[in-house]
């Protein structure tokens, strides 16, 4: 509608060029990343070696391709977004916070009549009850810019039973050695700071969206491995259910912690577990799986980006 704008100086206004185009867009194997700010790090600098987790998730398709599938889940948390992000590499909570869900699964399964096959749900939930040593030895890797992943050596996703027909397809596509290498990676959670997490072995991406200081929307995207058996997507979706009893445990903890932060009795949250004075500046190192180094590392990245333009 041009009428009414003649001789108003509209052509010289900020509005004249319409919506601002996003100038920095990168399509990485089907995942599209956009950067609105002209400053800051470019794509390669920002992600660096952490892209190997995207690679592994995509390589798990015999066709080297993922398809968004199964619907997008959204769920609301009355807590700060950082609690969700820190939780992704917090390996000291499962055996306590999830005792009610995973512990009950283990107990009920013990009493179940003997059947030939362990149900998929039991296989998924029971490993949350693994002992501290399991999580210590699982390892955590630290990359630049707050990124990192749990599950360097193994993870709670390691012992899922084989899906019939899948390995043969992988072998045909990649050769036996490469197929084994791809499926031998059992990275648990890869965090892309500030607000994305992916799970390669179960093809899932969670996006943490801050709504307010005490409100976070989580969007959970699931992917189908193109040319792989449907059973893999079925497992992904079972893991991903929002009304999952495992999710109930977590949300309760986030919301209690959020309430706790309202108290001025102690304003600090301690992230000192397995701290080492020489850790700042180190990158691509694998450390004890129960270290809080990833969280400290995220705050170092936060400080770096928040002060970049100063």
């Amino acid at each position: 509608m041009k009428k009414g704008y003649e001789n108003t100086g509209f052509e010289q206004s900020h509005a004249a060029s319409g919506m601002a185009p996003v100038r920095h867009v990168r399509n990485y194997r089907g995942f599209v990343f956009a950067k609105i700010n002209d400053g800051g790090l470019d794509f390669e600098e920002f992600f660096g070696e952490s892209l190997s987790s995207f690679d592994n998730m995509i390589d798990r398709s015999p066709a080297g391709q993922l398809k968004v599938a199964g619907g997008v889940l959204r769920y609301m948390h009355n807590c700060n977004w950082k609690m969700r992000v820190e939780n992704q590499t917090d390996t000291c909570h499962p055996m306590v916070a999830h005792e009610s869900s995973a512990g009950t699964v283990v107990e009920v399964w013990k009493k179940a009549p003997p059947v030939t096959k362990k149900p998929m749900a039991v296989e998924i939930i029971a490993p949350f009850m693994s002992p501290y040593e399991f999580f210590e030895n699982m390892g955590i890797r630290i990359w630049d810019n707050g990124h990192g992943h749990t599950g360097v050596h193994h993870s709670i996703h390691s012992d899922y039973s084989a899906v019939p027909g899948y390995f043969d397809k992988m072998k045909a596509a990649y050769g036996e050695e490469r197929a084994k290498a791809i499926l031998g990676e059992n990275r648990h959670n890869t965090v892309y700071f500030p607000n994305i997490m992916i799970k390669g072995p179960i093809q899932l991406l969670r996006h943490f969206k801050p709504i307010a200081a005490n409100k976070t929307l989580v969007e959970s995207w699931t992917f189908q491995l193109v040319d792989a058996p449907d059973m893999l997507l079925e497992r992904t979706l079972m893991y991903n259910r929002p009304t999952s009893i495992v999710g109930h445990d977590d949300l309760e903890m986030y919301e209690r912690a959020q309430e706790g932060l309202h108290s001025n009795g102690n304003e600090w949250v301690n992230l000192q577990r397995l701290y080492s004075p020489d850790e700042a500046g180190q990158t691509n190192v694998a450390v004890n799986g129960t270290s809080e180094w990833p969280m400290r590392h995220q705050y170092r990245a936060w400080t770096k980006f928040m002060t970049m333009g100063m």
Binding site: A69, G70, G71, V72, L73, R74, Y75, M76, H77, N78, A97, E99, S100, S101, G103, T104, V105, E107, V108, A112, P119, A121, V122, L217, T222, D230, L233, E234, L237, N240, R241, P242, T243, I245, G247, H248, D249, L251, E252, M253, R256
Partner: protein, 170 residues
């Protein structure tokens, strides 16, 4: 607390009224948190399904809010009783308002009956109270003179909204 014991069916084929009474009793068992008795209404191969998408047809390759067999339902019931179940300290309470259930189809030869029950489910814990509006579709069959649920499908009017914890059964 009144016990409202379950009555045996009078005949091999259930009447509409018997199915309606069964629906009303199910809601009461949930509201009174008599979950072991509630679980007993389900056939061994039953599923409880809350779709995520409107008109969802596939529970396996499309995400659902809930799609659980009897083993998972029994785990859920056990968990609610657990001493270390922090999300139930204090416990949740719920309240159902049902419209009169309607019998959509009856097929005695196949031992399959389908009912449709519009309802409001209110769930509350501490100061929070949430209203869920839904339609429950039950697929029933008769086993040893008793009605059993084979599939309970709960379609929420806002199935695709971003929810927090829904801890009880709708």
């Amino acid at each position: 607390m009144s016990m409202v014991a379950e009555a045996q069916l009078k005949n091999a084929v259930p009447t509409d009224q018997e199915m309606i009474d069964f629906m009303v009793r199910e809601a009461r068992l949930i509201d009174q948190q008599r979950f072991d008795e509630w679980l007993d209404l389900y056939a061994d191969d039953a599923f409880y399904w809350t779709p995520l998408e409107w008109d969802q047809t596939d529970p396996r390759l499309t995400c659902s809010l809930m799609y659980e067999d009897k083993l998972l339902l029994s785990i859920r019931v056990e968990r609610l009783k657990g001493a270390r179940t922090f999300s139930q300290k204090p416990t949740s309470r719920c309240h159902h308002v049902l419209q009169t259930p309607q019998v959509d189809s009856r097929n005695p030869a196949a031992n399959n009956y389908v009912t449709w029950t519009p309802m409001h489910h209110i769930e509350t814990r501490m100061d929070e109270q949430t209203l869920y509006a839904a339609w429950a579709t039950h697929h029933l069959s008769v086993e040893n003179g008793r009605l059993k649920i084979k599939l309970r499908r709960v379609d929420l009017i806002n199935c695709d909204a971003a929810f927090g914890n829904i801890q009880l059964f709708m």
